[in-house]
Symmetry: C2
Subunit: 190 residues, 2 copies
């Protein structure tokens, strides 16, 4: 950030009065431009024993497999965002069952919320954002072709929890050093 | 938003190619400036049968009671944000037990996440952000002097759930029309 989006003057980084962090502050109109994490909302759609994955038609990770998920927009709820992304990316209408993973991805300032969802009928198709959409049995999951560690985590939790039928909320914090690993903060609180 | 924060040129609202929403787009460098909801993270600290509330020393809602909560910052997890806010606003160090409420507040583009937390010792004090910090029994909660509907909801859920000892995650969506009411999306998924 170099310029004030409100008045066009140059901004500089400084700690505003009463604050303890550097912010972009406008030299002219004194607006403080806060920057905060963004929410990624999505679904883990399940049809019988299979999960729905999408092969990305967009960067980053073009051609790799993912769960339908994307940036939450202003004016919607987290659930609406998850349902919308599932519809946009997989042309699938699902029913949300529960919030399943909340992952703080520290190095990119994102919080990913994945909902466990039921796909009532095997109705889905590719889209502008997905080259291919299909259902996978556990043994067919393309583990080495998944787009993001957060997706791998969600799927691992799912196949683990499915054995017991209990799907507790999972809290995960990922940072650059442990991007590929489940980290120590992982797990449930209760 | 009037100017591009990257190059200082004028922005205009239009739908970028491949998108379906109006965004602020720079006329000169073509940067798309996305705007997304922000996360408020906080705690509902419990000490024996009492809950900890803070009386706000800042606007909005100066002088009204609230749970310690505030904007999540870049570079931290949702739990770290909740713990930091509790420390900053109430000088209290708590232990998080579980994620308790997730409230999408549609008309202000915020998602509030409140964690149920244990205050191990009755150690807390006022701060730059709180005129007063104290423990309340259920019968002493200042219901008509609470700062936000989300705080009222969280406290109502807590006193309701305490009877059973089960504290399931609550999903709530608030919009301008139902700001003061628990809305129809309220409740648990499971």
């Amino acid at each position: 950030m170099k310029y004030c989006s409100k008045c066009g003057a140059v901004v500089e980084q400084r700690i505003p009065p009463g604050d303890n962090r550097h912010r972009y502050v406008c030299n002219a109109c004194h607006t403080i431009h806060y920057e905060n994490p963004r929410i990624i909302a999505g679904c883990l759609p399940v049809y019988h024993n299979q999960v729905l994955l999408c092969r990305r038609a967009i960067e980053p990770r073009y051609g790799l497999w993912t769960l339908p998920a994307g940036f939450m927009e202003n004016g919607e709820s987290t659930e609406q965002a998850a349902l919308r992304e599932t519809l946009e990316e997989a042309n699938a209408t699902v029913m949300i069952r529960s919030l399943y993973t909340v992952t703080s991805i520290l190095h990119v300032d994102q919080v990913q919320m994945i909902y466990l969802a039921e796909l009532p009928t095997p109705s889905f198709s590719s889209s502008e954002e997905s080259l291919e959409v299909r259902l996978f049995n556990e043994e067919d999951i393309p583990w080495d072709k998944l787009a993001f560690p957060t997706i791998k985590n969600a799927l691992k939790f799912y196949f683990h929890d499915r054995k017991t039928g209990q799907f507790p909320l999972r809290h995960i914090a990922l940072s650059l050093g442990n991007e590929g690993e489940l980290c120590s903060e992982m797990g449930t609180h209760q």
